[in-house]
């Protein structure tokens, strides 16, 4: 497994944002995560990539503390995952947009802002950041799929957390908005927020400083996009990922 993350290049002594050791999760009698260990540094944008069903969402749920864990430890920002102290510092966007359809966009975002003690203005700002300024009074039931994704993202952004866990935030979004959002993610990272963003579109990996490649509950690789290209000798990240899979599933030959 390739491990040459930016960890090695950053200052030592800084506690990782997420420290996972030997994590095992079993869902529906089948193992979803096999003995997974990984460290995610603070203030970085880490991409969690892999095909559907590889365990990205399960891993994210372990980090935010809503997944029953069979073994191993998950420490987030120095505290055990799921502890009360952590919840104020964590923002989470689940894979399927979870919001109240009977309420308007602005009501939903304000609700999450209130839960975290953020100010009113933060809700407006979050809605503008995702480009839904025109729809702030629309009922969520009437929104398109991409718009609902954006509302869900706004609900996570409004909380101004230290760690943002976003499960497929750019699904169904047009390229223009995608560029804007990644710029915003970079801005947040520069200010010190740690971001963990999952996707199954390999092109998005370009935007990440660090990449976690997963398949079938295993962590195949943890390195920067540049390093990934170098080590697989591929120019496109999609090819690089396929190459990694081939190497790890081929029988060990010396």
């Amino acid at each position: 497994m390739m491990t040459s993350s930016i960890d090695e290049f950053s200052e030592n002594g800084a506690e990782p944002a997420v420290d996972i050791e030997h994590l095992r999760v079993i869902r529906g009698k089948r193992p979803a995560l096999h003995d997974l260990s990984v460290r995610i540094s603070r203030g970085t944008i880490t991409g969690l990539l892999g095909p559907s069903g590889c365990g990205k969402t399960t891993l994210m749920r372990c980090i935010v503390g809503t997944q029953i864990v069979a073994g191993g430890s998950v420490t987030v920002l120095g505290e055990p995952a799921g502890s009360a102290a952590l919840r104020r510092r964590l923002g989470y966007m689940p894979q399927f947009p979870a919001m109240y359809d009977d309420l308007r966009v602005i009501d939903n975002v304000r609700y999450f802002a209130a839960l975290y003690g953020a100010e009113e203005a933060a809700a407006e700002e979050a809605i503008d950041a995702v480009g839904l300024g025109d729809h702030r009074s629309a009922y969520c039931a009437n929104l398109s799929g991409g718009q609902r994704t954006r509302v869900s993202l706004a609900c996570a952004l409004v909380t101004n957390p230290d760690l943002l866990v976003l499960d497929e935030p750019t699904v169904g979004l047009d390229p223009v908005l995608r560029v804007d959002l990644w710029e915003r993610f970079r801005h947040l990272a520069r200010r010190g927020t740690t971001l963990l963003v999952s996707s199954h579109v390999m092109d998005e990996a370009e935007n990440c400083e660090d990449l976690l490649l997963m398949r079938d509950g295993h962590l195949l690789s943890h390195c920067t996009p540049t390093k990934l290209r170098e080590e697989t000798g591929c120019t496109s990240l999609e090819d690089a990922f396929l190459s990694v899979i081939r190497h790890t599933t081929a029988p060990a030959a010396g």
Partner: protein
């Protein structure tokens, strides 16, 4: 709708019974029916609304999302409990107002106690609804819990057959159901001008059941799920 439906149903009953002859010395059938409706309507309506709402939260993923926020589980349940109880109180006040003033409903005891009992029953409905939603996986199932949680109570609490006249084992079962105490409290208020000890005891029992249901619902609300 939640405010108007009980009023409309009680009014409908009024008109249904308006031509039925009243036996001298007995309370009018409308009076008996109205008493039961005023007191027990809040129980079913709140049960249904609460269990379906909580089920929607689970199904839409908002419950899991909310549990990742700083909100405590107790806060969530108390919030739901109080919001629904407030709605139920409004519903009960409107229904009581209409029944006592417009439809000529009468009780020996004060209408205030009928209102209080109605609200307590609503709180019970909320508690049972929160508990039932823990077991339902879909809204369809949540609705079907009504026959399981509510109908046996209806049948055995004394509306159809007085509890004392039921076979021993059925009477024993009905003693374990909160609706029996709720009905008895209502009947006490109906029959006596002063608030009797039995009525007070019954109200306390129903409240205790409601709080126990809420506590059990809190225990079933887990942050971590498979």
């Amino acid at each position: 709708m939640i405010l108007l439906v009980p009023v409309l149903v009680i009014s409908l009953m009024y008109f249904m019974f308006s031509d039925v002859p009243v036996r001298p010395g007995h309370p009018s059938p409308f009076n008996t029916a109205c008493l039961i409706l005023l007191g027990l309507f809040p129980l079913f309506v709140m049960f249904l609304i609460t269990s379906i709402t909580m089920q929607r939260e689970r199904a839409s993923g908002t419950l899991e999302r909310i549990l990742t926020t700083p909100l405590r589980r107790l806060d969530l349940l108390v919030a739901y409990g109080s919001a629904f109880s407030l709605a139920a109180a409004l519903q009960a006040s409107l229904a009581c107002l209409v029944s006592f003033w417009l439809l000529g409903f009468q009780t020996a005891g004060s209408p205030v106690w009928v209102f209080v009992i109605a609200v307590i029953n609503a709180v019970l409905g909320v508690g049972l609804g929160l508990l039932a939603s823990a077991f339902a996986r879909t809204e369809f199932q949540a609705v079907q819990f009504m026959p399981v949680f509510i109908v046996p109570q209806l049948l055995l609490c004394g509306i159809i057959v007085p509890r004392a006249q039921m076979p021993g084992w059925l009477e024993w079962i009905s003693n374990a159901m909160p609706a029996s105490y709720a009905l008895e409290a209502l009947q006490q208020v109906d029959a006596h001008a002063e608030l009797t000890d039995i009525a007070v005891r019954d109200m306390v029992v129903v409240l205790a059941f409601a709080l126990a249901a809420l506590a059990l619902a809190a225990a079933t609300l887990r942050r971590r799920t498979p």
